[in-house]
Point group: C2
Chain length 202, copies 2
DNA sequence: ACATTTTTTAACCAAATGGTTAAAAACAAA
DNA sequence: TTTGTTTTTAACCATTTGGTTAAAAAATGT
């Protein structure tokens, strides 16, 4: 009995994931989520009191899957170029599986950054990022890489990892004229890492 | 008399720009736009029949400002590194003024690409892009730059130019802890161009 | 068979919102 | 002052939408 209930709740969360990703918080309709989950609105509200709570649940779950490992990768003691490579792979691995995460963060964390920031702090991303920032600065001071604002370097890496996921549907049309882009994306983690490393190495 | 009318319409468009950028199409409220413009809802509907039309006007105007010059920059005969620099500057210039363009294109034009693709073809972006692709390929063949799939290079440039605009509200908090990021963004066009060129040059 | 839990049905409410209307008022040009 | 245009006021409508309710029904466990 408990199984059935939990299965339904998972169906709801999956449906919500999909609809929220496509329409955003404001654009999503509770009825549409219920339809997508194959249930009715009453049951939807039975399990999740309201839209906000439902969104919060979906959003936080997704973000945790991204941020937890990210913090680990940022905080570990590996050499910088290795770390960059790890970062790229992590981003691509998670985002290919959960491509809706960036859309969430971009459309919703912009409107309401508090929630997102709270999660970041909880997962320890802030400190981990600071550590990497110092590592980059040290590499620059030691003349191991070209001078660059560490924040810009991190922002560049994020851009190169996240944007292709988000823009995939458009890129398929304007760049890869309907070729299969899945394979391209899978190999892209290494290509992007190469691109970044090539740009900063002496 | 005509002046006053047109001034009001411009105030409306400016207000709409701002609100749509912050809240998106679904999240924006006509009342809020009217308030922002310093007029009332009746007058807002007097000049712009409905929300859709208002958005269409703002959006198409903005996208033309992006695509038209983009096609020109892609199609002209300048040297590749210059072209990359021009591209970056153009992206940053337009997107700082119309930061909602990427969000809309990503969220709405993905599901219904007709309008966007129509505009792209109309502005001649497709042919211009093809020309640049060939130029890149030629540079590679002549050993002037490192080998890279031209499509990936273009995708990287787009990522580095567009994503920071989209992720600005988040970056302000997690990277630039509430520093003024406007100045950073303005200077970023050149930095990004450097970054790209550094990465591909021999 | 009985009790418990899950799900549906279907009607309903309240608030928000896009949009309309018509008349008054403010304004500018002649 | 007269005339035409712009703007405000303020009430109003229709629809959408989030959310509730209560009872029936279906499914499930014991």
């Amino acid at each position: 009995m408990r199984e059935k209930s939990e299965e339904t709740q998972k169906q709801i969360l999956d449906a919500a994931k999909k609809i929220f990703a496509a329409k955003g918080l404001a654009g999503a309709r509770m009825q549409e989520i219920a339809d997508e989950a194959g249930i009715n609105k009453a049951l939807l509200h039975y399990y999740y009191r309201n839209k906000e709570k439902l969104f919060e649940q979906v959003f936080e779950g997704a973000i945790r899957k991204l941020l937890g490992p990210l913090a680990s990768f940022l905080a570990d003691d590996s050499e910088l170029f290795t770390k960059i490579r790890n970062l790229c792979h992590h981003y691509y691995n998670v985002l290919i599986e959960y491509p809706f995460i960036p859309i969430f963060v971009l459309s919703e964390a912009s409107a309401n950054p508090d929630r997102f920031l709270r999660l970041m702090k909880f997962e320890g991303v802030v400190e981990a990022k600071e550590k990497t920032r110092m590592q980059i600065q040290q590499y620059i001071n030691e003349g191991k890489i070209r001078p660059i604002d560490p924040r810009e370097l991190l922002w560049n890496i994020m851009s190169l990892c996240i944007f292709p996921i988000v823009s995939r549907p458009i890129a398929v049309e304007i760049l890869y004229s309907n070729d299969d882009v899945s394979e391209v994306l899978k190999q892209r983690a290494d290509r992007v890492a190469d691109f970044v490393i090539q740009s900063i190495k002496m």
